[in-house]
């Protein structure tokens, strides 16, 4: 792989130990994928929080941040473990606070913008069409490629961090035109999509991810007026059961205004997959992992809730109150929480027994201490959140629509699909 003078200096350690470590990662990574050069990046987003970093990861991060290593590119950060303004209210154990503070300080020292959000693209970390970026967080990465048309590989956190520090990423995979064409057609025409909501698209994504694996699928016969929450539902779930980095949604993805365009101007092949409603129904049950109908907690926000989603939950709850033995949390970013406060939603939700929690996501962060507080059965409208809550933290989960989850919070029992 060709390096310019500056990059060579970094590799030789002349720009500090952190830059050298970052460049070593990128050179090894670029070699593996036969990249010819490093391409400058305009935006970076990194993902891991304490539950996945563990103590060893914190040490790695602190070592990288040592000696004044700084990022050279605008870099934002995914959610963390708890709401920084409510450590006492949430009874966050000191052991976690100590670790969270170490992560916080290491990231701050590196110059990472501490957004603690997975909808960073809603608040300023917005690449343009064709930009080269390094976004860890498999959901946002596939969103950037498929909805914005920016170019990011499925970079692990360590690669994204290295890109932030060096300002560049090996040019391979989805950074190159020739690797962005479709590999198979998925025709969703057999499904009654007019009556689909976000949860249905998540169940569909769950089913398809297993078949798609790492390939680039081209969806035909999707409604062109798909809501953004539906698009996110489909894309974010495809990367849980699969590992695709780019999805062409014909009529929506900038590079796929037609199916032919998604195949680089060639006629598209015959559809390989034509999912049925039975398969989607089966996925619904596959996502849920609980057999216990009593719900300890309903948790929204994987990815973090937008202001529109918070408003929807408030509408669905109406004048009802959350069951005394059940909790309802809405996980979001600090700025959406500020908006909620400004619009009076925070008070009305609190009166109904709902807590709006900033800086965390519903997929992983809070489960460490929630589990210690006796929370075992979760209900959520996120297939992705269900997967990680169950597999990372041993929680039992129910998956269904936003309405089913809100109703379950009120009755204290699962009100969605079972068996």
């Amino acid at each position: 792989m060709e390096l310019n003078e500056r990059q060579k200096r970094m590799l030789e350690g002349k720009e500090g130990r952190g830059a050298r470590k970052a460049m070593e990662i990128l050179v090894a990574y670029g070699k593996c994928y036969l990249a010819e050069r490093l391409i400058p990046v305009t935006s970076v987003h990194i993902a891991g929080n304490f539950p996945v970093l563990m103590d060893e990861g914190i040490e790695w991060l602190e070592d990288l941040a040592g000696e004044g290593t700084r990022v050279r590119v605008f870099t934002t950060k995914n959610p963390e473990m708890y709401d920084f303004e409510e450590t006492d209210e949430l009874s966050i154990p000191m052991a976690y606070q100590v670790r969270q503070n170490r992560i916080h300080n290491a990231l701050k020292s590196l110059g990472v913008t501490l957004t603690y959000s997975c909808h960073h693209y809603l608040v300023g970390n917005v690449p343009r069409f064709g930009d080269h970026i390094a976004w860890a967080s498999s959901g946002s990465q596939v969103f950037a490629n498929s909805v914005i048309g920016a170019r990011s590989n499925r970079d692990g956190d360590h690669v994204a961090l290295a890109a932030a520090i060096t300002g560049a990423i090996p040019g391979w995979g989805l950074h190159l035109d020739e690797n962005r064409t479709g590999e198979l057609v998925i025709d969703v025409g057999r499904l009654d999509l007019e009556n689909y909501g976000p949860a249905d698209y998540k169940a569909l994504g769950w089913h398809l991810g297993k078949i798609v694996e790492t390939r680039i699928p081209v969806f035909v016969n999707l409604p062109r007026d798909m809501a953004i929450e539906e698009i996110k539902g489909l894309l974010y779930t495809l990367t849980v059961t699969g590992a695709t980095g780019l999805v062409h949604l014909v009529g929506i993805t900038p590079e796929a205004m037609t199916a032919e365009a998604a195949f680089g101007g060639d006629p598209p092949p015959f559809p390989e997959i034509t999912p049925s409603q039975e398969e989607v129904n089966h996925a619904y049950l596959d996502i849920s992992s609980s057999a216990e109908e009593k719900v300890d907690m309903v948790i929204f926000g994987c990815p973090q809730c937008s202001i529109q989603e918070v408003a929807e939950i408030a509408d669905l709850l109406g004048d009802r109150k959350v069951h005394p033995e059940t909790r309802l949390w809405i996980c979001t970013s600090a700025w959406v929480k500020t908006l909620c406060k400004r619009m009076g939603l925070l008070d009305s939700l609190r009166a109904g027994g709902v807590r709006v929690v900033a800086d965390v996501g519903a997929a992983d962060g809070p489960h460490l201490y929630l589990r210690e507080q006796g929370v075992r059965v979760l209900a959520m409208n996120s297939a992705r959140g269900s997967y990680y809550a169950h597999n990372l933290f041993g929680m039992d989960t129910w998956f269904g629509s936003t309405k089913e989850c809100v109703d379950s919070a009120v009755s204290g029992r699962w009100e969605g699909r079972k068996e």
Binding site: A28, C32, G57, D155, V159, E213, T239, A243, Y388, N391
Partner: protein, 137 residues
Amino acid sequence: MKIKAKTVVPGIAKGEAIVSRTAISFTGGMDPETGIIREPGHELEGQSVAGKILVFPTGKGSTTGSWQFYAAFKRGHAPQGIINVKAEGVVAVSAIITKTPMVHELEENPFEYIKNGDFVTINADEGFVDIQKKEPS
């Protein structure tokens, strides 16, 4: 027998093979405290990959997988070497930061030649995999 392979991370690793025909996610899919695959329904569910030569098609799931792999490695529960059909980025960087020998794109289908319990050498310095069949018991 020897099969040529492309190097992801150089080095030599020798050990007992554990083979999965399905993709693996290190976040959620593998317990870093034990090296045991914990994804419900996964074909290796309940089995440990610690100290083994792990053979699987490719990675999947969360891009935070390299943190979980690193934690498993520091605790002595990571595989000694990795053979992939196609190295996905998160698995590749997991191997890079832990200097775990890793190869991919073998000249033959690894699932036809490598079975659970075979003694496998990854020579990622020279770019090949050597398989010694398990003695029939």
